[in-house]
Protein backbone atom coordinates (compact mmCIF):
# COMPACT_ATOMS: atom_id res chain seq x y z
CA UNK A 1 0.00 0.00 0.00
CA UNK A 2 2.73 2.44 0.98
CA UNK A 3 4.55 1.55 -2.18
CA UNK A 4 2.06 3.86 -3.87
CA UNK A 5 4.13 6.78 -2.74
CA UNK A 6 7.43 5.36 -3.85
CA UNK A 7 9.04 7.50 -6.45
CA UNK A 8 10.96 6.20 -9.37
CA UNK A 9 11.66 9.22 -11.54
CA UNK A 10 14.25 10.79 -9.29
CA UNK A 11 16.90 8.16 -9.72
CA UNK A 12 16.61 8.57 -13.48
CA UNK A 13 17.45 12.25 -13.41
CA UNK A 14 21.14 11.57 -13.63
CA UNK A 15 22.61 14.34 -11.51
CA UNK A 16 26.33 14.53 -10.97
CA UNK A 17 25.52 14.01 -7.32
CA UNK A 18 22.16 12.30 -7.62
CA UNK A 19 22.18 11.22 -4.03
CA UNK A 20 22.14 14.76 -2.61
CA UNK A 21 18.60 16.05 -2.12
CA UNK A 22 18.96 19.09 0.14
CA UNK A 23 21.97 21.15 1.00
CA UNK A 24 22.27 24.29 3.10
CA UNK A 25 25.39 26.45 2.90
CA UNK A 26 26.35 28.66 5.83
CA UNK A 27 22.71 29.41 6.62
CA UNK A 28 22.25 32.25 9.08
CA UNK A 29 19.11 33.78 10.54
CA UNK A 30 18.98 36.84 12.76
CA UNK A 31 16.06 38.00 14.86
CA UNK A 32 17.03 41.55 15.70
CA UNK A 33 20.26 41.20 17.65
CA UNK A 34 19.76 37.50 18.29
CA UNK A 35 21.40 35.00 15.97
CA UNK A 36 18.92 32.13 15.90
CA UNK A 37 20.91 30.05 13.43
CA UNK A 38 24.57 30.66 12.66
CA UNK A 39 26.35 29.30 9.59
CA UNK A 40 24.73 25.90 9.54
CA UNK A 41 25.80 23.48 6.82
CA UNK A 42 23.44 20.60 6.47
CA UNK A 43 22.84 18.05 3.77
CA UNK A 44 20.33 15.30 3.27
CA UNK A 45 20.71 12.41 0.90
CA UNK A 46 17.83 10.75 -0.90
CA UNK A 47 15.95 8.16 1.09
CA UNK A 48 17.66 9.15 4.30
CA UNK A 49 16.06 9.95 7.65
CA UNK A 50 17.81 12.84 9.33
CA UNK A 51 17.11 13.64 12.96
CA UNK A 52 17.52 17.21 14.15
CA UNK A 53 17.85 17.52 17.92
CA UNK A 54 18.99 20.03 20.45
CA UNK A 55 17.83 21.81 23.59
CA UNK A 56 15.11 24.48 23.57
CA UNK A 57 16.19 27.52 21.61
CA UNK A 58 18.83 25.58 19.69
CA UNK A 59 17.35 26.75 16.37
CA UNK A 60 15.67 23.53 15.25
CA UNK A 61 12.35 25.09 14.36
CA UNK A 62 14.10 28.12 12.85
CA UNK A 63 16.09 25.74 10.65
CA UNK A 64 12.81 24.09 9.67
CA UNK A 65 11.25 27.39 8.72
CA UNK A 66 14.33 28.32 6.70
CA UNK A 67 14.26 25.08 4.75
CA UNK A 68 10.52 25.29 4.05
CA UNK A 69 10.65 29.00 3.17
CA UNK A 70 8.63 30.40 6.05
CA UNK A 71 11.57 32.55 7.12
CA UNK A 72 13.78 34.58 4.83
CA UNK A 73 17.44 33.69 5.04
CA UNK A 74 19.79 36.47 6.12
CA UNK A 75 22.99 34.82 4.91
CA UNK A 76 23.81 31.61 3.12
CA UNK A 77 22.07 29.57 0.46
CA UNK A 78 19.83 26.53 0.19
CA UNK A 79 19.91 24.03 -2.66
CA UNK A 80 17.26 21.44 -3.39
CA UNK A 81 18.02 18.91 -6.09
CA UNK A 82 20.94 21.13 -7.11
CA UNK A 83 18.62 24.10 -7.66
CA UNK A 84 19.07 27.26 -5.63
CA UNK A 85 15.79 27.72 -3.74
CA UNK A 86 17.04 30.39 -1.33
CA UNK A 87 14.59 33.00 -2.62
CA UNK A 88 11.53 30.78 -3.14
CA UNK A 89 8.46 31.19 -0.92
CA UNK A 90 6.88 28.29 0.97
CA UNK A 91 4.24 27.52 -1.66
CA UNK A 92 6.84 27.31 -4.42
CA UNK A 93 9.10 25.08 -2.33
CA UNK A 94 6.13 22.81 -1.78
CA UNK A 95 5.62 22.60 -5.54
CA UNK A 96 9.32 21.67 -5.86
CA UNK A 97 8.75 18.76 -3.51
CA UNK A 98 9.37 19.96 0.04
CA UNK A 99 6.47 19.31 2.41
CA UNK A 100 6.13 19.84 6.13
CA UNK A 101 3.89 19.25 9.08
CA UNK A 102 3.40 21.74 11.88
CA UNK A 103 4.30 21.16 15.50
CA UNK A 104 0.84 22.34 16.54
CA UNK A 105 -1.24 20.59 13.90
CA UNK A 106 -3.12 22.97 11.65
CA UNK A 107 -5.93 21.25 9.78
CA UNK A 108 -8.27 23.35 7.64
CA UNK A 109 -10.95 23.25 10.35
CA UNK A 110 -14.09 23.99 8.38
CA UNK A 111 -13.30 21.73 5.50
CA UNK A 112 -13.83 17.98 5.28
CA UNK A 113 -10.92 15.57 5.57
CA UNK A 114 -11.26 14.87 1.88
CA UNK A 115 -11.04 18.57 1.03
CA UNK A 116 -8.08 19.04 3.35
CA UNK A 117 -6.09 16.42 1.51
CA UNK A 118 -7.44 17.43 -1.91
CA UNK A 119 -5.79 20.86 -1.43
CA UNK A 120 -2.45 19.08 -1.36
CA UNK A 121 -3.38 17.07 -4.45
CA UNK A 122 -4.35 20.21 -6.40
CA UNK A 123 -1.48 22.46 -5.35
CA UNK A 124 1.32 20.00 -4.75
CA UNK A 125 4.21 18.88 -6.90
CA UNK A 126 1.96 16.91 -9.26
CA UNK A 127 -1.24 18.98 -9.59
CA UNK A 128 -4.51 17.09 -9.96
CA UNK A 129 -6.19 17.63 -13.31
CA UNK A 130 -9.67 18.09 -11.91
CA UNK A 131 -11.52 18.34 -8.64
CA UNK A 132 -12.68 14.78 -9.15
CA UNK A 133 -9.12 13.59 -9.75
CA UNK A 134 -8.02 15.41 -6.57
CA UNK A 135 -10.79 13.76 -4.55
CA UNK A 136 -9.90 10.30 -5.80
CA UNK A 137 -6.25 10.80 -4.91
CA UNK A 138 -7.21 12.28 -1.53
CA UNK A 139 -9.26 9.18 -0.77
CA UNK A 140 -6.30 6.92 -1.53
CA UNK A 141 -4.00 8.95 0.71
CA UNK A 142 -6.49 9.03 3.58
CA UNK A 143 -6.61 5.27 3.24
CA UNK A 144 -2.83 5.13 3.72
CA UNK A 145 -2.97 6.95 7.04
CA UNK A 146 -6.10 5.11 8.15
CA UNK A 147 -8.70 7.86 7.87
CA UNK A 148 -10.58 6.84 4.73
CA UNK A 149 -13.80 6.23 6.63
CA UNK A 150 -13.91 9.90 7.65
CA UNK A 151 -13.54 11.33 4.14
CA UNK A 152 -16.65 13.52 4.45
CA UNK A 153 -16.24 14.38 8.13
CA UNK A 154 -15.29 17.95 9.07
CA UNK A 155 -11.72 18.32 10.31
CA UNK A 156 -12.55 20.16 13.53
CA UNK A 157 -13.62 17.27 15.71
CA UNK A 158 -10.75 14.83 15.29
CA UNK A 159 -8.64 13.41 18.12
CA UNK A 160 -5.05 14.64 18.31
CA UNK A 161 -3.72 11.40 16.85
CA UNK A 162 -6.11 11.64 13.93
CA UNK A 163 -5.25 15.30 13.40
CA UNK A 164 -1.62 14.22 13.16
CA UNK A 165 -2.64 11.59 10.63
CA UNK A 166 -4.50 14.24 8.66
CA UNK A 167 -1.54 16.59 8.81
CA UNK A 168 0.64 13.82 7.45
CA UNK A 169 -1.91 12.94 4.74
CA UNK A 170 -2.11 16.55 3.59
CA UNK A 171 1.67 16.77 3.35
CA UNK A 172 1.88 13.45 1.49
CA UNK A 173 -0.79 14.63 -0.94
CA UNK A 174 1.68 17.14 -2.34
CA UNK A 175 3.84 14.13 -3.34
CA UNK A 176 7.00 15.44 -1.69
CA UNK A 177 10.57 14.25 -2.23
CA UNK A 178 11.46 15.62 1.17
CA UNK A 179 9.15 15.69 4.18
CA UNK A 180 9.91 17.63 7.34
CA UNK A 181 8.11 16.47 10.46
CA UNK A 182 8.09 19.08 13.22
CA UNK A 183 7.66 17.39 16.61
CA UNK A 184 5.38 14.79 15.13
CA UNK A 185 5.33 12.87 18.42
CA UNK A 186 4.65 15.85 20.68
CA UNK A 187 1.53 15.55 22.79
CA UNK A 188 0.95 11.88 22.07
CA UNK A 189 0.64 9.24 24.79
CA UNK A 190 3.09 6.30 24.75
CA UNK A 191 0.86 3.96 22.76
CA UNK A 192 0.14 6.73 20.23
CA UNK A 193 3.86 7.44 19.96
CA UNK A 194 4.22 3.80 19.00
CA UNK A 195 1.58 4.16 16.26
CA UNK A 196 3.12 7.41 15.02
CA UNK A 197 6.59 5.88 14.83
CA UNK A 198 5.10 3.05 12.82
CA UNK A 199 3.74 5.64 10.36
CA UNK A 200 7.22 7.18 10.14
CA UNK A 201 8.78 3.79 9.45
CA UNK A 202 6.23 3.20 6.71
CA UNK A 203 7.24 6.52 5.16
CA UNK A 204 10.80 5.34 5.22
CA UNK A 205 9.81 2.08 3.58
CA UNK A 206 8.21 4.10 0.79
CA UNK A 207 11.57 5.82 0.28
CA UNK A 208 10.54 9.35 1.25
CA UNK A 209 13.40 11.42 2.57
CA UNK A 210 12.65 12.72 6.05
CA UNK A 211 13.91 15.36 8.42
CA UNK A 212 12.64 14.94 11.96
CA UNK A 213 12.69 17.55 14.66
CA UNK A 214 11.93 15.87 17.94
CA UNK A 215 12.24 16.23 21.64
CA UNK A 216 11.97 12.53 22.36
CA UNK A 217 15.60 11.68 21.74
CA UNK A 218 15.21 7.92 22.06
CA UNK A 219 12.57 7.97 19.32
CA UNK A 220 14.80 10.00 17.00
CA UNK A 221 17.76 7.71 17.62
CA UNK A 222 15.51 4.73 16.93
CA UNK A 223 14.44 5.78 13.43
CA UNK A 224 17.16 8.15 12.16
CA UNK A 225 20.05 7.17 9.92
CA UNK A 226 21.94 10.27 10.86
CA UNK A 227 21.52 12.88 13.58
CA UNK A 228 22.51 16.53 13.65
CA UNK A 229 22.71 18.27 17.00
CA UNK A 230 22.15 22.02 17.22
CA UNK A 231 23.01 24.16 20.20
CA UNK A 232 22.45 27.94 20.41
CA UNK A 233 22.09 28.15 16.65
CA UNK A 234 25.17 26.19 15.72
CA UNK A 235 25.80 22.64 14.63
CA UNK A 236 27.80 20.93 17.36
CA UNK A 237 27.73 17.33 16.19
CA UNK A 238 26.74 15.15 13.28
CA UNK A 239 26.81 11.42 12.74
CA UNK A 240 25.07 8.14 13.36
CA UNK A 241 22.85 7.97 16.45
CA UNK A 242 25.54 5.97 18.27
CA UNK A 243 28.31 8.44 17.40
CA UNK A 244 26.20 11.40 18.46
CA UNK A 245 25.14 9.77 21.71
CA UNK A 246 28.80 9.26 22.60
CA UNK A 247 29.90 12.78 21.62
CA UNK A 248 31.24 14.71 24.60
CA UNK A 249 29.92 18.07 23.44
CA UNK A 250 26.44 16.66 22.88
CA UNK A 251 26.40 15.10 26.29
CA UNK A 252 27.45 18.36 27.89
CA UNK A 253 25.03 20.51 25.93
CA UNK A 254 22.01 18.33 25.74
CA UNK A 255 21.88 14.70 26.67
CA UNK A 256 23.45 14.88 30.09
CA UNK A 257 25.45 12.14 31.81
CA UNK A 258 22.38 10.19 32.84
CA UNK A 259 21.24 9.22 29.37
CA UNK A 260 24.80 8.53 28.32
CA UNK A 261 25.11 6.04 31.11
CA UNK A 262 21.96 4.30 29.88
CA UNK A 263 23.14 4.33 26.31
Amino acid sequence: MWGLLRRTERSSQGHIDAAMLLKTEQVTKLFGGLTAVRGVNLSVREGEILGLIGPNGAGKTTMFNLITGFYRIDRGRIFFQDRDITRLGPADRCKQGIARTFQLVRPFQHMTLGENVAVGCVYGRVPATSRHDAEMRARAILELVGLADQFDAPAHNLTLMNRKRLELARALATQPFLLLLDEFLAGLNPSEVHVALELVRQLRASNITLILVEHIVEAVFGVSDRVIVLNVGEKIAEGSPAQVAADERVIDAYLGRGLHAHA
Partner: protein, 344 residues
Protein backbone atom coordinates in the same frame (compact mmCIF):
# COMPACT_ATOMS: atom_id res chain seq x y z
CA UNK B 1 5.76 8.63 -11.62
CA UNK B 2 3.08 7.84 -14.22
CA UNK B 3 2.68 4.49 -12.58
CA UNK B 4 2.29 6.03 -9.15
CA UNK B 5 -0.13 8.61 -10.44
CA UNK B 6 -2.38 6.04 -12.04
CA UNK B 7 -2.30 3.92 -8.93
CA UNK B 8 -3.26 6.87 -6.79
CA UNK B 9 -6.13 7.55 -9.16
CA UNK B 10 -7.72 4.20 -8.49
CA UNK B 11 -10.73 4.37 -6.20
CA UNK B 12 -9.81 2.35 -3.17
CA UNK B 13 -13.12 2.49 -1.32
CA UNK B 14 -15.53 -0.34 -1.93
CA UNK B 15 -16.69 0.45 -5.42
CA UNK B 16 -20.39 -0.12 -4.82
CA UNK B 17 -20.53 2.26 -1.90
CA UNK B 18 -18.69 4.91 -3.86
CA UNK B 19 -20.94 4.54 -6.88
CA UNK B 20 -24.17 4.65 -4.93
CA UNK B 21 -22.93 7.71 -3.05
CA UNK B 22 -22.20 9.40 -6.36
CA UNK B 23 -25.58 8.53 -7.76
CA UNK B 24 -27.46 9.84 -4.75
CA UNK B 25 -25.40 12.98 -4.89
CA UNK B 26 -26.08 13.67 -8.56
CA UNK B 27 -29.82 13.00 -8.18
CA UNK B 28 -29.93 15.63 -5.42
CA UNK B 29 -27.99 17.94 -7.71
CA UNK B 30 -30.37 17.52 -10.64
CA UNK B 31 -33.26 18.20 -8.27
CA UNK B 32 -31.71 21.42 -6.96
CA UNK B 33 -30.94 22.62 -10.50
CA UNK B 34 -34.62 22.09 -11.38
CA UNK B 35 -35.70 24.05 -8.31
CA UNK B 36 -33.32 26.90 -9.19
CA UNK B 37 -34.60 26.98 -12.79
CA UNK B 38 -38.23 27.05 -11.62
CA UNK B 39 -37.56 29.90 -9.20
CA UNK B 40 -35.74 31.85 -11.91
CA UNK B 41 -38.63 31.32 -14.36
CA UNK B 42 -41.19 32.33 -11.75
CA UNK B 43 -39.22 35.48 -10.97
CA UNK B 44 -38.90 36.28 -14.66
CA UNK B 45 -42.67 35.91 -15.06
CA UNK B 46 -43.55 38.36 -12.28
CA UNK B 47 -43.46 41.59 -14.39
CA UNK B 48 -45.66 39.85 -17.00
CA UNK B 49 -48.26 39.05 -14.37
CA UNK B 50 -48.33 42.24 -12.36
CA UNK B 51 -47.31 45.85 -12.80
CA UNK B 52 -47.60 46.62 -9.09
CA UNK B 53 -44.53 48.70 -8.49
CA UNK B 54 -44.34 47.83 -4.79
CA UNK B 55 -43.93 44.14 -5.62
CA UNK B 56 -41.36 44.82 -8.33
CA UNK B 57 -39.44 47.25 -6.14
CA UNK B 58 -39.33 44.77 -3.27
CA UNK B 59 -38.06 41.97 -5.50
CA UNK B 60 -35.60 44.34 -7.17
CA UNK B 61 -34.13 45.22 -3.80
CA UNK B 62 -33.88 41.54 -2.85
CA UNK B 63 -31.96 40.79 -6.06
CA UNK B 64 -29.69 43.79 -5.56
CA UNK B 65 -28.92 42.81 -1.99
CA UNK B 66 -28.28 39.20 -2.97
CA UNK B 67 -25.54 40.48 -5.28
CA UNK B 68 -24.23 42.88 -2.66
CA UNK B 69 -24.22 40.20 0.03
CA UNK B 70 -22.81 37.43 -2.16
CA UNK B 71 -20.02 39.62 -3.50
CA UNK B 72 -18.99 40.39 0.07
CA UNK B 73 -19.37 36.72 0.96
CA UNK B 74 -16.93 35.69 -1.79
CA UNK B 75 -14.19 37.78 -0.21
CA UNK B 76 -15.08 37.55 3.49
CA UNK B 77 -16.99 34.28 3.82
CA UNK B 78 -15.07 32.09 1.40
CA UNK B 79 -11.63 33.73 1.25
CA UNK B 80 -11.72 34.85 4.90
CA UNK B 81 -10.67 38.44 4.17
CA UNK B 82 -13.18 40.44 6.19
CA UNK B 83 -13.27 43.67 4.21
CA UNK B 84 -15.11 46.66 5.61
CA UNK B 85 -14.52 48.63 2.44
CA UNK B 86 -17.18 46.98 0.33
CA UNK B 87 -19.13 50.23 -0.08
CA UNK B 88 -16.18 51.69 -1.99
CA UNK B 89 -16.56 49.02 -4.67
CA UNK B 90 -20.32 49.46 -4.84
CA UNK B 91 -19.84 53.22 -4.99
CA UNK B 92 -17.19 53.04 -7.71
CA UNK B 93 -19.55 50.93 -9.81
CA UNK B 94 -22.35 53.45 -9.33
CA UNK B 95 -20.04 56.36 -10.04
CA UNK B 96 -18.71 54.78 -13.24
CA UNK B 97 -22.22 54.18 -14.53
CA UNK B 98 -23.33 57.67 -13.57
CA UNK B 99 -20.39 59.31 -15.31
CA UNK B 100 -20.49 57.23 -18.50
CA UNK B 101 -24.22 56.78 -18.87
CA UNK B 102 -25.08 60.42 -18.20
CA UNK B 103 -22.18 61.32 -20.46
CA UNK B 104 -23.91 59.56 -23.35
CA UNK B 105 -22.34 56.11 -23.34
CA UNK B 106 -24.93 53.34 -23.95
CA UNK B 107 -25.94 51.71 -20.69
CA UNK B 108 -24.66 48.17 -21.45
CA UNK B 109 -21.16 49.55 -22.00
CA UNK B 110 -21.35 51.65 -18.86
CA UNK B 111 -22.58 48.58 -16.99
CA UNK B 112 -19.60 46.46 -18.13
CA UNK B 113 -17.16 49.24 -17.26
CA UNK B 114 -18.73 49.48 -13.81
CA UNK B 115 -17.66 45.93 -13.09
CA UNK B 116 -14.14 46.45 -14.42
CA UNK B 117 -13.28 49.78 -12.77
CA UNK B 118 -13.74 48.58 -9.17
CA UNK B 119 -12.01 45.28 -10.02
CA UNK B 120 -8.93 47.11 -11.32
CA UNK B 121 -8.90 49.64 -8.46
CA UNK B 122 -9.32 46.88 -5.89
CA UNK B 123 -6.48 44.78 -7.27
CA UNK B 124 -4.17 47.81 -7.14
CA UNK B 125 -5.20 48.57 -3.56
CA UNK B 126 -5.30 44.89 -2.65
CA UNK B 127 -1.60 44.23 -3.18
CA UNK B 128 -0.49 46.48 -0.30
CA UNK B 129 -3.64 45.92 1.79
CA UNK B 130 -3.32 42.14 1.80
CA UNK B 131 -0.07 42.51 3.69
CA UNK B 132 -2.34 43.24 6.64
CA UNK B 133 -3.93 40.28 8.35
CA UNK B 134 -7.12 39.83 10.35
CA UNK B 135 -8.56 42.89 12.08
CA UNK B 136 -5.86 45.14 10.60
CA UNK B 137 -7.07 44.27 7.11
CA UNK B 138 -10.64 45.12 8.12
CA UNK B 139 -9.63 48.46 9.60
CA UNK B 140 -7.43 49.27 6.61
CA UNK B 141 -10.20 48.60 4.10
CA UNK B 142 -12.68 50.63 6.16
CA UNK B 143 -10.23 53.54 6.22
CA UNK B 144 -9.68 53.44 2.46
CA UNK B 145 -13.42 53.34 1.80
CA UNK B 146 -14.10 56.26 4.13
CA UNK B 147 -11.33 58.34 2.55
CA UNK B 148 -12.89 57.66 -0.84
CA UNK B 149 -16.39 58.57 0.40
CA UNK B 150 -15.23 61.86 1.89
CA UNK B 151 -13.25 62.71 -1.24
CA UNK B 152 -16.28 62.04 -3.44
CA UNK B 153 -18.50 64.06 -1.11
CA UNK B 154 -16.13 67.01 -1.28
CA UNK B 155 -15.30 66.98 -4.97
CA UNK B 156 -18.69 66.20 -6.49
CA UNK B 157 -21.54 68.66 -6.05
CA UNK B 158 -23.89 67.89 -3.21
CA UNK B 159 -26.99 68.71 -5.17
CA UNK B 160 -28.15 65.61 -6.92
CA UNK B 161 -28.31 65.88 -10.66
CA UNK B 162 -31.77 65.55 -12.25
CA UNK B 163 -31.58 63.95 -15.69
CA UNK B 164 -35.07 64.98 -16.79
CA UNK B 165 -35.21 62.89 -19.98
CA UNK B 166 -34.17 59.72 -18.21
CA UNK B 167 -36.71 60.21 -15.46
CA UNK B 168 -39.47 60.93 -17.98
CA UNK B 169 -38.87 57.65 -19.79
CA UNK B 170 -38.22 55.67 -16.59
CA UNK B 171 -39.43 52.08 -16.63
CA UNK B 172 -39.15 49.64 -13.76
CA UNK B 173 -39.22 46.36 -15.71
CA UNK B 174 -35.74 46.67 -17.32
CA UNK B 175 -34.26 47.42 -13.89
CA UNK B 176 -36.03 44.41 -12.50
CA UNK B 177 -34.70 42.09 -15.21
CA UNK B 178 -31.19 43.48 -14.94
CA UNK B 179 -31.12 42.85 -11.19
CA UNK B 180 -32.60 39.36 -11.60
CA UNK B 181 -30.05 38.41 -14.28
CA UNK B 182 -27.22 39.82 -12.22
CA UNK B 183 -28.31 37.95 -9.10
CA UNK B 184 -28.47 34.68 -11.06
CA UNK B 185 -25.07 35.33 -12.65
CA UNK B 186 -23.51 36.09 -9.26
CA UNK B 187 -24.92 32.91 -7.78
CA UNK B 188 -23.70 30.84 -10.72
CA UNK B 189 -20.22 32.38 -10.65
CA UNK B 190 -19.90 31.76 -6.91
CA UNK B 191 -21.09 28.19 -7.31
CA UNK B 192 -18.65 27.46 -10.12
CA UNK B 193 -15.75 29.14 -8.33
CA UNK B 194 -16.13 27.06 -5.19
CA UNK B 195 -16.62 23.82 -7.04
CA UNK B 196 -13.39 24.43 -8.93
CA UNK B 197 -9.88 23.44 -7.88
CA UNK B 198 -9.04 27.11 -7.45
CA UNK B 199 -11.91 27.48 -4.95
CA UNK B 200 -10.31 24.81 -2.81
CA UNK B 201 -7.17 26.94 -2.52
CA UNK B 202 -9.20 30.03 -1.60
CA UNK B 203 -10.93 28.09 1.18
CA UNK B 204 -7.57 26.80 2.43
CA UNK B 205 -6.27 30.38 2.65
CA UNK B 206 -9.29 31.30 4.75
CA UNK B 207 -8.72 28.40 7.12
CA UNK B 208 -5.01 28.85 7.71
CA UNK B 209 -2.79 30.93 5.50
CA UNK B 210 0.49 29.36 6.66
CA UNK B 211 -0.76 25.81 6.42
CA UNK B 212 -2.17 26.59 2.98
CA UNK B 213 1.20 27.92 1.82
CA UNK B 214 2.90 24.83 3.20
CA UNK B 215 0.49 22.82 1.06
CA UNK B 216 1.47 24.74 -2.07
CA UNK B 217 -1.20 27.46 -2.18
CA UNK B 218 0.25 30.88 -3.00
CA UNK B 219 -1.61 33.26 -0.71
CA UNK B 220 -1.57 36.57 -2.57
CA UNK B 221 -2.88 35.42 -5.99
CA UNK B 222 -5.75 33.58 -4.35
CA UNK B 223 -6.72 36.51 -2.16
CA UNK B 224 -6.46 38.83 -5.14
CA UNK B 225 -8.63 36.55 -7.26
CA UNK B 226 -11.33 36.54 -4.59
CA UNK B 227 -11.04 40.32 -4.28
CA UNK B 228 -11.27 40.93 -8.03
CA UNK B 229 -14.33 38.68 -8.45
CA UNK B 230 -15.93 40.23 -5.38
CA UNK B 231 -15.22 43.75 -6.66
CA UNK B 232 -16.53 42.95 -10.11
CA UNK B 233 -19.94 41.89 -8.81
CA UNK B 234 -20.07 44.64 -6.19
CA UNK B 235 -19.38 47.15 -8.98
CA UNK B 236 -22.13 45.67 -11.14
CA UNK B 237 -24.48 45.92 -8.16
CA UNK B 238 -23.50 49.59 -7.84
CA UNK B 239 -24.20 50.09 -11.53
CA UNK B 240 -27.60 48.45 -11.15
CA UNK B 241 -28.32 50.78 -8.25
CA UNK B 242 -27.35 53.81 -10.34
CA UNK B 243 -29.55 52.58 -13.20
CA UNK B 244 -32.46 52.08 -10.79
CA UNK B 245 -32.07 55.23 -8.74
CA UNK B 246 -31.01 57.56 -11.62
CA UNK B 247 -31.03 60.63 -9.39
CA UNK B 248 -29.10 60.49 -6.12
CA UNK B 249 -26.28 62.15 -4.26
CA UNK B 250 -23.00 60.83 -5.74
CA UNK B 251 -21.77 60.17 -2.22
CA UNK B 252 -24.74 57.97 -1.28
CA UNK B 253 -23.52 54.62 -2.70
CA UNK B 254 -20.15 55.14 -0.98
CA UNK B 255 -21.79 55.23 2.42
CA UNK B 256 -20.46 52.63 4.91
CA UNK B 257 -24.07 51.50 5.38
CA UNK B 258 -23.75 49.45 2.18
CA UNK B 259 -20.84 47.55 3.68
CA UNK B 260 -22.77 46.79 6.84
CA UNK B 261 -25.88 45.79 4.88
CA UNK B 262 -23.77 43.26 2.98
CA UNK B 263 -22.21 42.02 6.19
CA UNK B 264 -25.55 41.75 8.00
CA UNK B 265 -27.21 39.92 5.13
CA UNK B 266 -24.39 37.44 4.88
CA UNK B 267 -24.22 36.77 8.60
CA UNK B 268 -27.98 36.45 9.00
CA UNK B 269 -28.18 34.08 6.04
CA UNK B 270 -25.02 32.09 6.65
CA UNK B 271 -21.48 33.30 6.09
CA UNK B 272 -19.35 31.20 3.79
CA UNK B 273 -22.34 29.39 2.27
CA UNK B 274 -23.73 29.71 -1.24
CA UNK B 275 -27.36 30.12 -0.23
CA UNK B 276 -26.75 32.25 2.87
CA UNK B 277 -26.81 35.69 1.19
CA UNK B 278 -30.05 34.74 -0.60
CA UNK B 279 -31.83 33.88 2.64
CA UNK B 280 -30.25 36.89 4.32
CA UNK B 281 -31.32 39.31 1.57
CA UNK B 282 -34.92 38.04 1.56
CA UNK B 283 -35.12 38.26 5.32
CA UNK B 284 -33.40 41.64 5.49
CA UNK B 285 -35.48 43.34 2.81
CA UNK B 286 -38.80 41.95 4.07
CA UNK B 287 -38.09 42.91 7.66
CA UNK B 288 -36.66 46.29 6.75
CA UNK B 289 -39.54 47.29 4.50
CA UNK B 290 -42.11 45.97 6.95
CA UNK B 291 -40.52 47.68 9.96
CA UNK B 292 -39.91 50.90 8.06
CA UNK B 293 -43.64 51.16 7.35
CA UNK B 294 -44.90 50.37 10.85
CA UNK B 295 -42.18 51.71 13.11
CA UNK B 296 -40.43 54.28 10.91
CA UNK B 297 -37.54 55.57 13.00
CA UNK B 298 -37.45 52.70 15.47
CA UNK B 299 -36.76 50.07 12.81
CA UNK B 300 -32.95 49.97 13.02
CA UNK B 301 -33.26 49.24 16.74
CA UNK B 302 -35.70 46.37 16.21
CA UNK B 303 -33.58 45.05 13.38
CA UNK B 304 -30.50 45.13 15.58
CA UNK B 305 -32.26 43.05 18.21
CA UNK B 306 -33.52 40.60 15.59
CA UNK B 307 -30.01 40.28 14.19
CA UNK B 308 -28.56 39.48 17.61
CA UNK B 309 -31.29 36.92 18.26
CA UNK B 310 -30.70 35.13 14.97
CA UNK B 311 -26.96 35.00 15.45
CA UNK B 312 -27.46 33.66 18.99
CA UNK B 313 -30.01 31.00 18.05
CA UNK B 314 -28.48 30.07 14.70
CA UNK B 315 -24.75 30.82 14.89
CA UNK B 316 -24.36 29.58 11.31
CA UNK B 317 -27.16 31.86 10.06
CA UNK B 318 -30.56 30.97 8.64
CA UNK B 319 -29.03 28.09 6.63
CA UNK B 320 -28.65 26.38 10.02
CA UNK B 321 -32.42 25.82 10.05
CA UNK B 322 -32.13 23.78 6.88
CA UNK B 323 -29.10 21.84 8.14
CA UNK B 324 -30.84 21.00 11.40
CA UNK B 325 -34.03 19.91 9.66
CA UNK B 326 -32.06 17.69 7.29
CA UNK B 327 -30.12 16.15 10.16
CA UNK B 328 -33.34 15.48 12.09
CA UNK B 329 -34.88 13.96 8.96
CA UNK B 330 -31.85 11.75 8.37
CA UNK B 331 -31.79 10.42 11.94
CA UNK B 332 -35.52 9.74 11.76
CA UNK B 333 -35.13 7.92 8.49
CA UNK B 334 -32.15 5.98 9.81
CA UNK B 335 -34.01 4.88 12.93
CA UNK B 336 -37.04 4.11 10.76
CA UNK B 337 -35.14 1.80 8.42
CA UNK B 338 -33.37 0.27 11.41
CA UNK B 339 -36.63 -0.65 13.09
CA UNK B 340 -37.94 -1.96 9.77
CA UNK B 341 -34.96 -4.20 9.23
CA UNK B 342 -35.19 -5.31 12.87
CA UNK B 343 -38.84 -6.22 12.19
CA UNK B 344 -37.88 -8.50 9.31
Amino acid sequence: MEQVGSQLNQPTVPLRAALSARRRFSRARVFSWIVVALIALAMAAVPQVTTRSDVLNLLFLIFLFIVLGQSWNILAGFAGQVSLGHAALFGLGALTTRTLWFGGVPFPLAFAASGLVPAVCASLIGIPTFRLRGAYFSIGTLAIAEVLRITIANTLPLVSFLPVDMLATYELAPRYYLALALALATMLATYLLFRSRYGLGILAIREDEDAAQATGVRALPHKLAALVISSFFAGLAGSTYAFYQVSYYPEAPFHAGWTFDALLITFVGGVGTLIGPVLGAIFYIFVRERLAVTLVSLHPLIFGILFILIVLIFPGGLVDIGTRLRRAWNTRRASHSESRSAGK
